[in-house]
Every structure is written in structure tokens, then in C-alpha cells.
Homo-oligomer: 246 residues x 2
């Protein structure tokens, strides 16, 4: 089984609120349609979720108890999710939506509960579940943000995924000279090279992605759309991030 | 905590595909807005879910592996769910959607898994989760139907609800003469009086509701819109169904 993250900045125009990058999403959907393995897709928020979350002051740690705030973030994310599912369905991928607000929660120590029996059952029955970054009920905080990256790492661990791929706008994790770092085993190695991402990203940009993927107990790959078909056919394009060897 | 079921036949025009009964839904939303207790709302499918499920041959036991079938049923149910959440939001009820397709599954012995930490956390943070009948991933069957009644009984048990109410189109469970049966402790008592419901209902009509509610380990009330305000203020209108005394 493969868990594939489609970065929010890949499938949306990240600097323009609620604007899809339809051409990029088509390329991603084409690659997914050609894949032969069992697959779980997770997409980020891009200009859909992040815009509303920032506007309303909601982050992974700071919550809201205003249902309008929650519905703004969640509504934008389910709209984007429908686009992703629809483009996959156009290519006969048996995609089904799975909304984290409906299933996940955090306790008052911010510990994540994300049951995955439904995802495993969908995959076992031949479907391709499509999850996403979302709002999440959080004890003591109301509703906070659950990043797509956190969904990826939790689902990959729970379902014991064979391979994890993160499709980004860049061909891998880049060093200070703009070159792809082929392999990362610990955050210290790359802390200097990783600034925040240029556009709004409440869930931490590339630095956040690297930290999440290092916490996985299996290797993950970070690559761009050019690398996606290769990744789905078994290659290791871009940067391999492997915290288990640390 | 109260778990309240709004029958699909109450909030929709059950004989006309995908037609809301807006006036009935407004009455229900008014009553919910006046409630003081912690509340979980569950609505049925009415003319939204049942129509598509029957057309595509999907029931609680017979599944589909066609994603279009699943998305037709789920899409209709999420549309109805948006109507319910919106009408509650118009009255400042802090309603949030919870879609069972995203969280529930059945194994190959049809045993239901329906995690409820997210529902409990939402309620604890002051929100009113709104669940519904839906499609559900089902090992060996693809996707089958999860009835709103099954959601009600499972959520009420898992969260140890104090009171369970089922708001129907009739003022209670009716005997052969059309009179409300005040109390039901076992199915045998009422088997003769309960036929199928007149309109399409893939999840079993009133007989199914009574069976599900008898399986609860706490008393439940069945009543109509006239009884709803009283139920939410602590009365026991209509029929009390209590399998725990059997």
C-alpha cells in the first residue's frame, strides 16, 4: 500500500484564495490513474484551507469555538476534496472522500486520535480513500487545524504502508544552493537550509513536512509532479527522508 | 447528554426525490435551538438517501463496489446534512457535520465499528455534532447502507447518553387501531401491529426503529414534531421503548 500526499501548493494556486490549479491536478490524477498498488491519497489545504484558517486565527495549536470559523475552514477543504475526488473519478479511479473532521480528535494534551479501520476497509474493497487537512475537535481548544502531513504520517503508520510519497512544488527538499538533498536522516542536518515557505502555510511548510516524515518509522520520498509517475511505479525520486535510521 | 434522531420522513418529502420539508425542518431546528442539554443530532435519509440507495440496489446488507453508486448515496446525504446544519446555524446552534462514511466500517461478519471520540470531543467543546444515515465501507460487500437508527443506538451507547429521542412523522409507535402504544418492552408485543412503512425505506421503517431501540441499554422515546419541544425539556412524549427491562 502507498500513502500519497498531494501538496496543497501543488493542486491549488497558493497565493490566490480558493483557486484550483486544474492543470496540475489533472497531471496528478493522470499519474494516480496509472498506479497499480493499493493507494490512499491525502491532499493539503493550499489556498482553500490555509486562507480561512489564517483569517480566523485558527492553527494546529490555537483553536476556535465559533462554528462559523470551523465551517469556513472545513467547507473550503471539502470543496477542494470534491475537486480532487471528481478529477480522479473522471479517470475511473474509485475515489471516496474521507473528512478528518468527521473522524479525528485531540485530547487536552493534544494527542491525536485518528481511527483508520474505515480507510483500511475501503482500500480492501478496492476503493481509493481521499483524505485531507481539516479542522479537528480538540479538547480545551475547540477546533484546531489538523495538517495534511499529520494525516499522512498517522495513516501510513496505522495501516503499515509500504511506501509514503509527498508530491510538492519543488523536486525535493532543497539545500541553501537550491539543490535537491538526496537523503535526510535527522532534522539537524537540514535545519539551516529550511526556512518557512514563502506563502501562507499554517501547518509549517517544508520544515514541518520534514519533521513529520522523520517521525515516521519508514522511509518517505519528497518530489514534484515530474517525479510522481516514477514514484508510483516504484522509483525513489527527489529526497528520501528516513528518521528510522537516525 | 441527549441523542436526538430527526427522522428522514420528518425533514424531507419522503415520496419526492431529494425534496426537503423546509417547514418541518424549521420547526425541528427551533426546538433544538431552545434545548439546554448537550446534544447529538442524527438525521435519516428520507427522500435523499433512500431514493438513490434503492435505485442502485444498495441496502444495509447488499453492497456496491461502484464509486458512482457510493457517491450518489453519500452526496445526497451530505446535501441533506448541509440543509440541517445550515438551519441549525441560522438559529445560532453550534452545529458541525459528522459524516459516517468518513468514520465507520463493518467487518466481514457485518460487525459495526463507529469510533466516537470526535463526537464526544465536539460535545465537550460546546458543539452540536450532526450525523446521518450514510454509506459505510463493509468488508466483503464494498459499501453498504448504515441507517440513521443504527447510528443513534451506537452513539447513544458509546457516549452513555442520558436520553434518546426519535422524532418521527407519527406521534409514537401505533397499534393496529392507530393509537399510540405508550410503552414497548419487547418486539413480540408489537410484531403484529408493525407493518413496513408505506414509502421506500431501505433501513426498515418503524419495525427497524423499534428493533434498534430495543437493543439499546436505556429507554428511548418515539414522538412527532409536536412532542419534540416537550422531549427536549425533559418529558416522555409518545412511545417509550425500553429493551433493558425485557
Amino acid at each position: 500500500m502507498i500513502v500519497l500526499k498531494l501538496g496543497g501548493s501543488v493542486v491549488t494556486e497558493k497565493d490566490r484564495p480558493e483557486t484550483l490549479d486544474g492543470r496540475a491536478l489533472d497531471r496528478a490524477a493522470d499519474a494516480v490513474a496509472d498506479a497499480n498498488d493499493d493507494l490512499v491519497v491525502v491532499h493539503g489545504g493550499g489556498s482553500f484551507g490555509h486562507h480561512h484558517a489564517e483569517e480566523r486565527g485558527v492553527s494546529t495549536t490555537d483553536g476556535t469555538r465559533d462554528a462559523d470559523d470551523v465551517l469556513a475552514v472545513h467547507g473550503a477543504m471539502t470543496t477542494l476534496n470534491r475537486f480532487v475526488v471528481d478529477r480522479l473519478r473522471e479517470r475511473d479511479v474509485p475515489a471516496l472522500p474521507v473528512h478528518p473532521l468527521s473522524v479525528a480528535s485531540r485530547d487536552d494534551a493534544a494527542r491525536l486520535t485518528l481511527p483508520t479501520d474505515q480507510v483500511a476497509t475501503m482500500v480492501g474493497e478496492g476503493f481509493v480513500p481521499v483524505l485531507h487537512g481539516d479542522g479537528i475537535a480538540h479538547a480545551g481548544e475547540g477546533v484546531t487545524v489538523l495538517s495534511g502531513d499529520e494525516v499522512v504520517t498517522r495513516v501510513a503508520s496505522s495501516l503499515d504502508a509500504d511506501r509514503v510519497g509527498v508530491c510538492s512544488t519543488v523536486p525535493g527538499v532543497l539545500d541553501a544552493d537550491g539543490d535537491v538533498i538526496p537523503r535526510i536522516d535527522s532534522f539537524d542536518e537540514v535545519a539551516d537550509a529550511l526556512g518557512g515557505s514563502a506563502a501562507t502555510d499554517v501547518s509549517g511548510g517544508m520544515a514541518g513536512k520534514v519533521r513529520e516524515l522523520l517521525a515516521l518509522d519508514r522511509p518517505a520520498s519528497v518530489f514534484d509532479l515530474d517525479g510522481l509517475p516514477g514514484f508510483l511505479s516504484g522509483e525513489r525520486p527527489g529526497t528520501t527522508i528516513d528518521g528510522s535510521s537516525d
